[in-house]
């Protein structure tokens, strides 16, 4: 006997503790016996859901017989805008339907293969204790159905996949999903549960190449993925398809990785996972306060986090070119919550100012402009002012005088400008820092002080007043001189 040998070996090195352990093991099948000792009550048909939905938590406190009906279909679906792919699916889409059973449940598994399928298929559930995880027992020709059963001995989040030769191709075509075996005591209550599963795809054409794209065996062998996506397609979790939750919710993500090749560096931008049940081990103490967690190909993880502020949180594979160039992006939109708390948790952008490493905001005009003789009349003043405006001012206020919303105030039909000529002169010669309201819109930026001559200030302001529906005022060098004589610093927003 195998164990006799072990005991002998253990005794030989004098490790009595190990020997005892070996004897205890030789009792054999103790876990299975303990589980099977509990009576099996009732029968139910499993609720299966398409991603990102998850079947409801199990409230039962006893073992039962669960019947799972899963149909394999080969379907043409969207991989990305304009790109189609023949997916092989468990239940009609990628990833396969989510199954939820309880530790100790007796699962009667029906795997049907649609008559239109070209291929035989099967299923290997990582939740199964038994050879092949059900693969050989569920091997099913097109138009047929196989039945096998297993007792769910180990709680956890498990991947299932097709294991028909060539396995890589079946998985690469989308044949994977998740099965959750809840522990007897259930999982802690949360507000929202979602199902997210990553997969890599290999197409004849490169990323985004339109049309029905066939599988590329060469690229799959090279592990050179064209697409890395969540839930079977580029965009399946973005925009209108984003996951939705409310601030204050605790969110649980069941995250799987079908592969076939790539390991995921799963991360949610702007969130910290309060808890990570590494590799789907939901009965182990969680890892806490985690930024990024690895999800192996053919593996899964459970992450939980409370939504403490509003906004859009981006799910990515932080192997980041996959996210921005191959499709591995999803969104979780959190709305509501207490605005005050939201802003304290995260303020959003509060300021965007000019960075002035030289310490001041003085910009000098080129010498040759300063040296020019004074303008003879208003027309000349406007013409010269235009040159200065287009050279200096238009960079921010734009050639149209319309400015840039939220950054640079408009000069066109500007109430701020037209209300006070001296204030306008001061703004140019002293600069402006802080919040101003122009035409009803708040601006909070920096206008640097400009080292213009009195003549130049007069010209450019006269030009601005003459344009874009402004009041046509003429500004003279004497007026500028008068304002300058008053001295002053950069106006602090003018009390708006």
């Amino acid at each position: 006997m195998k164990y006799t040998k072990h005991i002998l070996a253990a005794v030989a090195v004098g490790l009595t503790a190990t020997a005892t352990q070996v004897v205890a093991q030789s009792d054999g099948q103790s876990k299975a016996k303990a589980i099977l000792a509990e009576p099996l009550k009732g029968e139910e048909v499993a609720i299966l859901t398409h991603a990102p939905n998850v079947p409801p938590p199990i409230t039962r406190k006893h073992r039962t017989k669960v019947i799972v009906n899963l149909e394999v279909t080969e379907v043409v679906k969207k991989m990305a805008d304009g790109v189609d792919y023949t997916f092989w699916t468990f239940g009609g889409s990628v990833p396969g339907k989510f199954m939820r059973v309880r530790e100790g449940d007796f699962v009667e598994f029906h795997l049907a293969n649609h008559p239109s399928s070209k291929m035989p298929h099967n299923i290997d559930l990582h939740a199964v204790t038994g050879p092949g995880g059900g693969a050989a027992a569920s091997f099913t020709a097109p138009g047929h159905e196989s039945v096998f059963s297993f007792t769910a001995l180990n709680p956890g989040l498990f991947v299932y996949h097709c294991a028909t030769a060539p396995v890589g191709m079946h998985i690469a075509n989308g044949m994977y999903g998740l099965i959750l075996v809840e522990p007897k005591e259930g999982l802690p209550k949360v507000d929202k549960e979602f199902y997210v599963m990553q997969g890599d795809f290999y197409t004849k054409g490169k990323y985004g190449e339109a049309g029905l794209q066939p599988f590329s065996m060469e690229k799959a062998i090279r592990e050179d993925a064209d697409y890395v996506v969540f839930n079977g397609a580029v965009g399946s979790l973005t925009g209108d398809n984003a996951l939705q939750a409310t601030v204050g919710d605790t969110v649980r993500l069941f995250v799987g990785n079908g592969g076939p090749n790539l390991v995921s560096s799963f991360h949610v931008i702007g969130e910290i996972f309060d808890k990570v049940y590494t590799e789907g081990g939901i009965t182990s103490p969680p890892n806490k306060n985690v930024q990024t967690t690895l999800v192996p190909a053919g593996g899964a993880t459970v992450v939980e986090f409370a939504l403490d502020t509003e906004g859009t949180f981006i799910l990515v594979d932080h192997s980041i070119f996959r996210a921005f160039n191959k499709g591995a992006i999803g969104m979780l939109k959190a709305t509501g919550g207490d605005k005050g708390i939201n802003l304290k948790v995260y303020s959003g952008k509060t300021n965007d100012s000019v960075y002035q490493p030289e310490g001041g905001a003085i910009q000098s005009m080129p010498e040759n402009i300063k040296a020019r003789p004074a303008a003879k009349n208003k027309e000349e003043r406007i013409a010269r002012g235009k040159t200065t405006y287009m050279t200096i001012c238009s960079a921010c206020h734009q050639p149209t005088g319309l400015g840039i919303p939220f950054a640079f105030p408009p000069l066109a039909k500007s109430d701020y400008l037209n209300a006070d000529k001296n204030r306008a002169i001061s703004t140019v010669i002293n600069g402006l820092v802080g919040e101003v309201v122009v035409n009803g819109k708040k601006f909070n930026s920096v206008m640097p002080k400009l080292e213009f001559s009195d003549e130049d200030v007069a010209n450019v302001l006269t030009y601005v007043y003459s344009e874009w529906g402004n009041n046509g005022s003429e500004v003279t060098p004497d007026e500028v001189k008068a304002v300058r004589a008053k001295g002053g610093k950069a106006a602090a927003g003018g009390g708006h």
Binding site: A141, A165, P166
Partner: protein, 266 residues
Amino acid sequence: MNSLHILALFLLINCSEAMGVEPSTLSSKEMADIPAGSYVPLYTKDKTPREVAAFRLDIVSVTQRQYLAFVEKHPRWQRSKVARLFADTSYLKDWKSDTDPGSDLDSPVTNVSWFAARAYAKHLGKRLPTVDEWEYVARADATQANATADEKYTAVILNWYSTRFVGPLPSPQSFPPNIYGIRALHGLIWEWNQDFNNAMVTGESRGDSGIERNLFCAGGALSATDVRNYAAFMRYAFRSSLKGNYTTANLGFRCAMDSVNHTKKQ
């Protein structure tokens, strides 16, 4: 390669015109002679080539028209009369009645069981090709007896795998002949073999064979003679999923017979 292809077609058409008959109506031209040879099958631990004796093989898969003639002559193979032991419930399921295949008479017959295919062959004094015979011929393309290393050859097969099935099936006559003159071994339907369940044993027989392990997970990658030959891999997997009374929408057959000049060794 393309021009050769066209040339081959041209010669074939000329030939049949010269004889003044359609190839399908000329019984001697329904089959092609396949010379003896050898090949290395996908699943062997040693790479010893396997001998294939000379034999004859149908140029095209059996059509609905031909199968109709058979069931008319042998009513026990009609849909409503067949024994469940010999054909499951989807046997000829797309036919309008026992003796009406519908409009696509030149399409290959599918949804037929191995028992039915074997009975059909027998009534013509033929048999089904063995896996070895079938695989040996199926390595060919229009110009080479063994095109398996050719990317284009593999692409045809893989493209078929990844194209969703939409009926009705085209006539096998619309496919180009391979170097032996055989058409549509790839890209149209799966085909029954005489010994489909001996080549790869699974299911209830798995206890007596280790081969089944090859079909799941890494096993196959280790023992296949060419790990890149996914295309052929799929055929072995498909055959292994079948039982004799199974019928599926993509599965038909063609017939073979021993070579006239050769006594088959068993």
